[in-house]
């Protein structure tokens, strides 16, 4: 029994059990073949993609996976409910080449096209018989029919889902053949349910850290519970208003990054369960290898020097810096619902005060916070950035390209736009790496820590592995040994 939420049409992890992705992704964010597609080719002009499909795969209702269903699926993506996805809006034509080969032609080259086919909420392959009307290329999904390891036996809206293994023979008698899916919205109650033995596994149902860090030591003390964590490179960051206000000065941006003791923050506030983040994205990925050696190191003395150089001087008894009669006061918007946000905000406030910056914390409901962000009405804004598969392109196109509508006040300039556009066109690691290095050199944000995903399960649960994507869930290898 696992804990989570059942939704229809969203990036819900339950769907990862029911549907296969068109293409998969590895832990480094590279597209790989899937159960449905064995390989693909791209034409030199970047306009045509040919997909070679695997044979012998059927949907839960017996519909065969072949070029006909693949052609329908890609057309449905570009004409139906997923047509607002940029990658699918680029599709001009889908053609069947032979029984197990389809060809897609784009209107214009789009480097991230293959990548889009790996992202769960875009690429879960649904059966043409599960939309209404069946086989319609703009039909609405009315039932859960995929090719995944589990199929839906029963589903009671807002309450429960019962899944059974699609092919019991492959279970070999030891793998789990049934999943009861329940919803426990409160994370503390989820931990209690695991400790009480009511559920077998928790924390796998959310793409954020749904198990509170402070409860990790409690679970680790329980001899019947195993806790595991994984990084998808999803960083919790403070985005800075680089358009106006104090952070429009690069020296102030660098200063705040040097003034934050991230090691201490993680150890004392997050039970040591997270990893400090010292670069705009994690340098362990090939697409951000250029960031190695650029990590921020705690250096409040240098931070003070930078602020002095920027003209912000301590003049009054309160220790808050001033420039041209104006105090160095900044507004830090914290959207409600961000994990660990309150304690981290207070910590940042105290760290910034040490170098003479007065941080005013403004906790806002997420919709209201988003409205302020869209207008650029903030100096600092807490944001959970992108993880695999949202990396490497997500932070660049979503936040730092000047066309990023949700982040008009993030760092933008023509050179960065060019670097991002080049990376998007080539999809090459070195080009992404160049764009990230430039962002880091401009101190575009204040990275805080890596939001690691946490799974906790009973000792009797064996063979659990984290999926390769932050939005994925794979229980096909799990078995229960009492």
């Amino acid at each position: 029994m696992i804990q989570g939420e059942v939704k229809r049409g969203g990036a819900d992890l339950l769907q990862s059990l029911i549907y296969d992705n068109f293409l998969n992704i590895n832990y480094d964010g590279k597209p790989t073949p899937s159960r449905l597609v064995r390989s693909w080719e791209q034409s030199n002009d970047g306009l045509t993609y040919t997909f070679y499909l695997n044979r012998g795969v059927t949907f839960h209702d017996g519909t065969e996976w072949n070029a006909k269903t693949a052609e329908w699926f890609l057309k449905w993506c570009s004409q139906g409910p997923r047509k607002n996805t940029v990658a699918y809006s680029k599709i001009s034509e889908v053609k069947t080449v032979d029984d197990y080969t389809v060809k897609v032609t784009l209107k214009e080259p789009f480097g991230a096209f293959i990548k889009a086919l790996t992202v769960e909420f875009n690429s879960h392959v649904v059966s043409p018989t599960s939309v209404d009307p069946a086989w319609s290329t703009d039909g609405k999904i009315i039932s859960f029919i995929g090719t995944g390891a589990f199929k839906v036996e029963s589903y009671v809206k807002a309450q429960r889902a019962e899944l059974v293994r699609n092919d019991p023979a492959t279970g070999g008698g030891t793998l789990i053949d049934r999943i009861s899916y329940r919803i426990i919205p409160d994370s503390h109650a989820g931990v209690s349910a695991l400790r009480a033995g009511t559920v077998d596994i928790i924390g796998v149902s959310d793409n954020h850290a749904s198990v509170p860090y402070e409860l990790i030591p409690v679970m680790e003390r329980d001899p019947n519970i195993i806790v595991e964590t994984i990084s998808y490179g999803r960083y919790q960051v403070v985005e800075l208003n680089c358009r106006e206000g104090p952070f429009s000065d690069i020296r102030v941006r660098e200063a705040v990054n040097l003034a934050l003791d991230r090691e201490k923050m993680v150890k004392e506030l997050l039970a040591g369960a997270a990893t400090p983040a010292n670069t705009v994205v994690s340098p362990r990925y090939p697409f951000a290898s250029s960031l190695a050696g650029t990590e921020y190191a705690y250096n409040p003395a240098r931070a003070r020097e930078l602020l002095d150089n920027a003209g912000w001087k301590v003049t009054g008894a309160d220790g808050i810096r001033q420039k041209e009669g104006k105090k160095l006061e900044v507004t830090y918007i914290v959207p409600i619902g961000e994990a660990n946000s309150e304690s981290i905000a207070v910590y940042i406030q105290s760290e910034m005060k040490k170098i003479g910056i007065d941080v005013k914390i403004l906790v806002l409901e997420s919709g209201a916070a988003g409205a302020e962000r869209n207008k650029g009405n903030y100096d600092m804004f807490l944001h959970h950035s992108y993880g695999i598969p949202g990396l490497p392109d997500g932070p660049l196109t979503g936040k730092y390209h000047s066309s990023a509508g949700s982040w008009p006040a993030s760092y933008h300039d023509a050179q960065l736009d060019q670097l991002i556009e080049k990376a998007m066109a080539t999809d090459a690691d070195e080009d992404y790496s160049a764009a990230y290095l430039y962002s880091q050199e401009k101190h575009a944000c204040m990275p805080l820590y890596d939001i690691e995903r946490i799974a906790a399960y009973k000792k009797s649960v064996k063979g659990f592995i984290f999926s390769t994507s932050v939005y994925g869930l794979d229980l096909s290898t799990v078995r229960i040994e009492e």
Partner: protein, 319 residues
């Protein structure tokens, strides 16, 4: 009496309809004019990060979110006359369906919690009033103080810790059999125990000091008969009022208890709809919750007539 009730209903129903409409208008307009864009909030929930600008524009167009407030509200109210409360922006399903699938769970928990509160609150309240300053009265005071000072979420987690984790007697969450109902009922009902206990004790003490009670004792009636037939009946009007108010509130959904116990009621869904700016759900749910409140209030007024025929429905008292 039937005539009185008919007259009362004829007077109350138009006001009730107006109240319900005003509540939904208020809910619709507050959320509409609150900062935050439903397209962006909902797509962020789906995608896990801020959506692309094109996706937001398309969502706005598909759901006609760019038309003026008056037009959106008029469209929604017009739908009411055809029995439609609109469609949820988040789930794409009819609002009425979203309500109907969740409301039975809310009703079960509300009735269970109020029954628990009535049984405990009335019993201890009456005994406390009959034996003031006795050990049972002291116990009643303790329960009342605890009930009004312990937050229900804390009590819920404590109950899970004791009965689910340590004693392993009851499930810590879920919806289904009677065993799933026990802990949320106690967590939710305990505050109401305190309220009903206090009001029962005070009303009974007042009633027991009335002349007709002494007269009843003087006539040789036994204590049980005096307390139940004479004093309690007269003391029950404020208890019914309090119970009606509490039941109305419980039927409006209980977010925290639903979240802790994974109880699939309307409260959590309404809260997440508010967070998502899902106007049709908010307006529809508020309309239905207001309707329930009004019905409970009317029923309470009717019960008054049966308890105390001196009371005229609608609040007046016969001279």
């Amino acid at each position: 009496m039937a005539g009185e009730i008919s007259f009362f209903l004829a007077r109350r129903i138009p006001w009730a309809i107006l109240t319900i409409f005003l509540a939904s208008l208020l809910a619709f307009s507050i959320i509409f004019f609150a900062p935050g864009n439903p397209a962006e909030v909902i797509l962020t929930q789906i995608y896990g990060n801020e959506p692309e600008r094109d996706a937001v524009i398309l969502f706005i167009e598909q759901n006609a979110l760019d038309v003026p407030f008056i037009k959106q509200y008029t469209t929604w109210t017009t739908g009411l006359f055809y029995g439609s409360l609109g469609t949820s922006l988040r789930t794409g399903d009819p609002v009425l369906e979203e309500f109907i699938v969740r409301f039975p769970a809310t009703v079960i928990l509300a009735l269970s919690a109020i029954t628990f509160a009535l049984v405990i609150g009335l019993s201890i309240g009456v005994l406390s009033a009959v034996r003031p300053h006795s050990p049972i009265d002291a116990f009643g005071n303790l329960i009342a103080s605890l009930g009004s000072s312990i937050p229900s979420f804390w009590l819920g987690l404590l109950l899970i810790l004791v009965f689910s984790i340590h004693l392993n007697l009851l499930p810590s969450f879920g919806y289904g059999g009677i065993e799933h109902l026990i802990l949320p009922t106690i967590a939710l009902g305990f505050l109401n125990v305190s309220k009903i206990l206090r009001i029962t004790r005070e009303s009974m003490i007042d009633a027991l000091s009335e002349d007709y009670v002494f007269e009843a004792y003087a006539k040789g009636l036994r204590e049980k008969a005096v307390v139940i037939r004479h004093a309690f009946r007269n003391a029950s009007v404020p208890i019914v009022t309090q119970t009606g108010l509490e039941l109305g509130a419980l039927l409006g959904g209980t977010v925290i208890i639903e979240q802790i116990f994974g109880w699939p009621g309307i409260g959590s869904f309404l809260l997440s709809s508010v967070m998502s700016r899902d106007y049709p759900v908010i307006a529809g749910f508020v309309l239905l919750i207001a309707l329930i409140y009004v019905i409970v209030n009317i029923l309470v007024d009717i019960i008054y007539i049966y308890i105390d025929p001196r009371i005229q429905p609608g609040g007046k008292t016969h001279a």
